[in-house]
């Protein structure tokens, strides 16, 4: 897709913008009524950052309580609410909207479209998030406190608790509706609004991963909606789907939930793969190794993600044949994932690499996500999982996948595209400092949790036996380093928006997708006044 059309395109924009009467309106109404994919992308990213800080504060409260054995800071019930809402806020409020924010910003620019296919629906998808977040966080303040069942919302606990559960169920419903509308918009845009010459197999990998992710969302979000609808009727309308006293079965909820939940894991990691697949070639100054393989591997991961859900529930009493099936299937899904890792390594092989902040985060992602993948393989072995289930080993595993996987890729993407979005360079020194603080803080916080889990410390408890004290103290110190270094990130982003050195149009010489080759930095409010032609 290299330098396709006119190089002078970039300058034409600047000129047109000097006397532009179609810029955004000022003030609040710009954001409230906006149908511009860039504005909506920005709002998604700020929303997810706010939720990230909120969920992060809950995590720090959890870690503070776990600094010593015994109960110091919070009541056990409140502790359980913290772990529950931390999980829900981070999954549905931080990671997922952040990727949708990236999709809004980048998908139209990378395929050469002027905007998303349904700009008004796009606006609605975003604004639905606000009431959902208020319901979720507001549930802390109702009688009985916020949901305390764990983010998986397992009955019977979830059926017994107070009105906060209804607020959580409603929040999940609204978030699901928002995700579904977002996915329909993204798929429709990618399939129909590509610039002339932009064939599917010329699309940047980020667009490909989002296309596949959006299909996953379309397939599993209605299942989650169904599961929480059944919880709602169990609570208020006299059904007993999950209530053993009424002839129901709580394990059915687990099956339905994880049929949603495992593809959800890939929903949170595939766009991360896409971002990393944009960044690594740019800083290795080589095309991505095995582009077609990456597309194929992503598709097969998506298909396989539907047949591995049982590995989340090896201990609930499935037949041996069931356990074996899910164990084999889970091990096999590591094959296409491993292929991707090797492709990234092969991309860097003999490249002329430099290590600016986005690349640091991408390489950090590569190393740490691999650790998370391997601990996942350990947990996939049924007999091993039976001893490790519900221990801190599991907590360590999924934080390696979701923090150093998804979140590090988000950070990498922000540093990568911030010059394009704002027109200013971020401070490279501070960016690197942020990376190293995050890297060290994260590993100090979560690597010891492997040891705690292997030693038998259960998850979701506010108090623990004395022999676990030292690693918990180290973990808490690491968590505070990691948490507070994100304020540095906030400072870097705000100061980049407000000013800084002018970013060149093609900030990274190795980046070759349309937003770098065809658009100025900062990108004008409306892009691609004429559709670019891709050769």
């Amino acid at each position: 897709m290299s330098t396709a059309t006119h190089a002078h395109d970039t300058h034409g924009h600047d000129h047109a913008h000097a006397h532009d009467h179609h810029g955004p309106p000022a003030g609040f109404s710009r954001w409230m009524y906006t149908t511009n994919h860039k504005d909506i992308g920005t709002m998604y990213l700020w929303f997810s950052f706010a939720m990230f800080l909120m969920g992060g504060s809950m995590a720090l409260l959890i870690r503070a309580e776990l600094f010593q054995p015994g109960l110091q800071l919070v009541e056990p019930q409140f502790f359980n609410s913290l772990t529950t809402v931390h999980g829900l806020v981070m999954v549905f409020g931080a990671i997922m909207p952040a990727f949708v924010g990236f999709a809004n910003w980048l998908v139209p620019m990378q395929i050469g479209a002027a905007d998303m296919a349904f700009p008004r629906m796009n606006n609605w998808s975003f604004w639905l998030l606000i009431p959902a977040a208020l319901l979720l966080v507001g549930s802390f303040f109702v009688p009985g406190g916020a949901a305390a069942s764990g983010w998986t919302l397992y009955p019977p606990l979830i059926i017994q608790q107070g009105m906060s559960i209804d607020m959580t169920i409603l929040a999940v419903h609204i978030l699901g509706a928002s995700s579904i509308m977002g996915s329909i918009n993204i798929i429709t845009t990618i399939l129909n609004l590509r610039a002339p010459g932009m064939t599917l197999m010329k699309m940047p990998l980020f667009v490909w991963t989002w296309l596949i992710t959006a299909y996953l969302l379309i397939a599993v979000m209605p299942v989650l909606a169904g599961a929480v609808t059944m919880l709602l009727t169990d609570r208020h309308f006299g059904t007993s789907f999950f209530n053993a006293a009424g002839g129901g079965d709580p394990t059915m909820f687990m099956h339905i939930f994880w049929f949603f939940g495992h593809p959800e894991v890939y929903i949170m990691i595939l766009p991360a793969f896409g971002i990393v697949s944009q960044i690594i070639p740019a800083f290795a100054r080589k095309p991505l190794f095995g582009y077609a393989s990456m597309v194929y591997a992503t598709s097969s991961i998506a298909i396989l993600s539907f047949i591995v859900w049982g590995h989340h529930m090896f201990t609930v009493g499935m037949p041996a044949a069931g356990n074996l099936f899910f164990m084999y299937a889970t091990m096999l899904i590591a094959v296409p994932t491993g292929v991707k890792i090797f492709n990234w390594i092969a991309t860097m092989w003999k490249g002329s690499m430099t290590f600016e902040t986005p690349m640091l985060f991408a390489v950090g992602f590569l190393c740490l996500f691999t650790i998370g993948g391997f601990s996942g393989l350990v947990l996939a072995i049924t007999p091993v999982d039976i001893t490790l289930h519900n221990t801190y080993y599991v907590v360590a595993h999924f934080h390696y996948v979701l923090v150093s996987g998804a979140l590090f890729a988000i950070m990498a993407g922000i540093y990568f595209w911030l010059p394009k979005w704002t027109g200013h360079m971020y401070s490279e020194g501070l960016g690197k400092l942020h990376f190293w603080l995050s890297m060290i803080g994260f590993n100090v916080a979560f690597f010891p949790q492997h040891f705690l889990g292997l030693a038998g410390m259960p998850r979701r408890i506010p108090d623990y036996a004395l022999q676990f004290t030292e690693w918990n103290q180290i973990s808490t110190v690491g968590a505070f380093i990691f948490g507070f270094s994100q304020l540095l990130f906030l400072y870097i982003v705000i100061s980049t928006i407000r000013g800084g050195a002018k970013a060149p149009d093609r900030t990274w010489e190795g980046a070759d997708s349309l937003e770098w080759t065809h658009l100025p930095s900062p990108v004008p409010y409306h892009t691609f006044e004429t559709a670019p032609v891709v050769k």
């Binding site: 077609a292 393989s293 194929y296 598709s299 298909i303 047949i307 041996a320 099936f325 084999y328 292929v339």
Partner: protein, 57 residues
């Protein structure tokens, strides 16, 4: 149709030779690939299930 199955088989492994892939882009239709993908996914599940049955016998 045989080519579609070949492409899907390699996609499950996650690897595809460059010239093979370029040949694929010419000779395959999306409909064929999707159909082959669904059939292969089903076959994959059945094979796994067969192995499981064999092991637990």
């Amino acid at each position: 149709m045989k080519d579609a199955f070949k492409a899907v088989f390699w996609s499950f492994f996650g690897v595809r030779k460059k010239d093979e892939y370029e040949a694929d882009t010419k000779r395959l239709t999306p409909q064929a690939v999707i159909a082959a993908g669904l059939i292969c996914a089903l076959a994959f599940v059945l094979v796994l299930f067969g192995i499981v049955k064999l092991v637990t016998r």
